[in-house]
Amino acid sequence: MTSLLPPASAAGGALASGPTDLSAAPARRRRPGFRPALVLTLLPVLLIAAWALFPGLFTGQDPISGIPQEKFQAPTAGHWFGTDHLGRDVFARVVHGTSQTFLTAGLAVLIGLAAGTLIGVLAATGGRAADAVSMRLVDVLLAVPGFLIALIIVTASAPGPVSLGLGVGIAAIASFARVVRAEVLRVRNLEFVEAAFLTGGTYWTVLRRHLLPNAAGPVLSLVAVDLGAAILVVSSLGFLGFGAPPPEPEWGLLIAEGRQYLGTAWWMTTLPGLVIVATVVLLAAVGRQLLTSFRF
């Protein structure tokens, strides 16, 4: 088997799981994790992710109940992002709102990834009919704006984070399905896949050990980019009032609340918005880094 492998490992075995598959050319194996630029962009993303997991570590203030005497205070060392109309610390609300926004966006990406992978693999390996049917389905999903799909799901069920995540996720299926299909098609025609079939690999083992791992790079990159896009859609819909109900701090809702005090408290809209911009920019940068580190 190893005699068939040199072209395969050159074509890219960076992610192949089986150690025996790659023993022929260990020197060519790349280690995507060691890129300093990737680590540098990943660190702030991890910091924001830590806000979602342990908000209490980053702010000591209460996000829900405020001190009425301290309302509408401009940003100071004590209140980094100032305080809102009820005297709540805006930075605390941003930090505590991270989990809400990230969970909803994460749910969306998970749905898009799972269903998109299923449809993409089916389209790439299931023959012409399966390809035509799944790609028309993807066309339909693309034809209805994701924003409207999310709104429809919210119409059908009550507004809330789960229905919002579901709606945004369904809208994300199309792009995942396209990328997975393109990647699997690219890998499927490489010689080492043929070799894997010839040496007795079944559909499932080849899919699991060769096709999916080698298709993972661009898909992983899309996960990062799409998480950013989902955060934008989730916060937009939260801004319009279709997300978490008011006392809950959610990024879009925070800005919607600040909208009423645009004249008195610029920090209530501007600063949470900057956090959204930074998060999405960083996630997009991580996505680009991942794409270049996995490019063969």
Binding site: R136, L137, D139, V140, L142, A143, V144, P145, G146, F147, L148, L151, I152, V154, T155, A156, R178, A182, G228, L232, V233, S235, S236, F239, L240, F242, G252, I255, G258, R259, L262, G263, W266, T269, T270, G273, I276, V277, V280, V281, A284, A285, R288
Partner: protein, 319 residues
């Protein structure tokens, strides 16, 4: 050519029909029929009222019959009636679409200008540092939430500087600012794709030949690079429809403009299913029509595509 046209047109119709059917099926997944949901959402109503309204809207018919009659009506241009106002859905949408179309069309034009300007600057700027900085603008643009940019500009222009009224008053600025907000968002994917494709063109040997012949950088960019790079950027135009739609809804809300945005939000908050169906049908049709147009324009820009199509493999939709 005729066969290619027919094939693409059939595909477009198929997508619209499938989108409509999927929405019809999705409506069936609701806990009960649209009328019951609509009437019971605010207060207790008696069953008789629900039944008469159901009969009026045809929701008491068997499923297949409902589907066929709705589809039949659709073919005659009848999309149904709004549950909230009783108006025809076409009238409801038609009454609001004008100002949204004006906003979206101006924003699209402005977005094309912004994208071209960014790409030209990022390619032609004298220093490499500046070029890199400009190339990072499109990812930044796409990360800025429309509603936030709108609010920040409102804060700055109306409250700080007092040059813009908080509500639309017909002045130039009150149209220009929403258009700009939407255009920045829409220009991002265009600029990204165009920049990437311009960079690819610049790696080709004919650019070196042009340089060797003494053509100026501006001439090379405008006359040769841009023309060769336009294809992929044209494809992204098709996908822009969805971005424009979502962006318009949000921009209209932020700037308190009348238009499709308020219809969409009202349809969703009052669970007005026929209206939502009409909106889906509208956006799907526009999306498909724009993509069809883009596909038909492609061979004009790049004759190779038509040759490929003649040889049997139809070009993929905006891949």
């Amino acid at each position: 050519m005729a066969r290619y046209l027919l094939h693409r047109f059939g595909q477009a119709l198929l997508v619209v029909w499938l989108a409509y059917t999927l929405i019809f099926l999705a409506v069936q997944l609701l806990p009960s029929d649209p009328v019951t949901i609509f009437l019971t959402s605010d207060s207790a109503v008696d069953q008789a009222a629900i039944d008469t309204m159901k009969a009026q809207y045809g929701y008491d018919q068997p499923l297949l019959l409902q589907y066929l009659s709705q589809l039949g009506a659709l073919l005659q241009g009848d999309v149904g009636y709004s549950l909230t106002s009783g108006e025809a859905v076409t009238e409801r949408i038609g009454g609001a679409i004008g100002s949204t179309l004006a906003l979206a069309a101006s924003a699209l034009a402005a977005a094309v200008v912004i994208a071209l300007a960014v790409v030209a600057a990022a390619t032609l700027a004298p220093s490499p540092v500046l070029r890199r900085a400009l190339a990072n603008l499109p990812p930044l643009f796409s990360a800025v939430p429309v509603f936030w940019l709108g609010l920040v500009l409102l804060e700055l222009l109306s409250i700080r500087l007092g040059v813009l009224s908080l509500f639309p008053d017909g002045s130039f600025l009150s149209l220009a600012v929403p258009v700009l907000v939407l255009a920045v968002h829409v220009s991002a994917p265009m600029a990204q794709v165009l920049l990437k494709s311009v960079e690819q063109v610049y790696r080709q040997p004919f650019i070196d030949v042009l340089r060797a012949k003494g053509a100026s950088p501006v001439w090379i960019f405008c006359r040769h690079a841009l023309q060769n790079a336009a294809g992929p950027a044209l494809s992204i135009l098709g996908i822009t429809v969805g971005t424009l739609f979502a962006g318009s809804v949000i921009t209209e809300t932020v700037f308190a403009r009348a238009g499709l945005g308020s219809v969409v939000l009202q349809a969703v908050t009052t669970q007005d299913v026929p209206l939502v169906q009409g909106l889906v049908l509208l956006t799907a049709t526009v999306f498909v029509a724009v993509n069809l147009l883009v596909d038909l324009l492609h061979p004009l820009l790049d004759p190779r595509i038509l040759k490929d199509a003649r040889q049997g493999s139809a070009p993929a939709l905006a891949s």
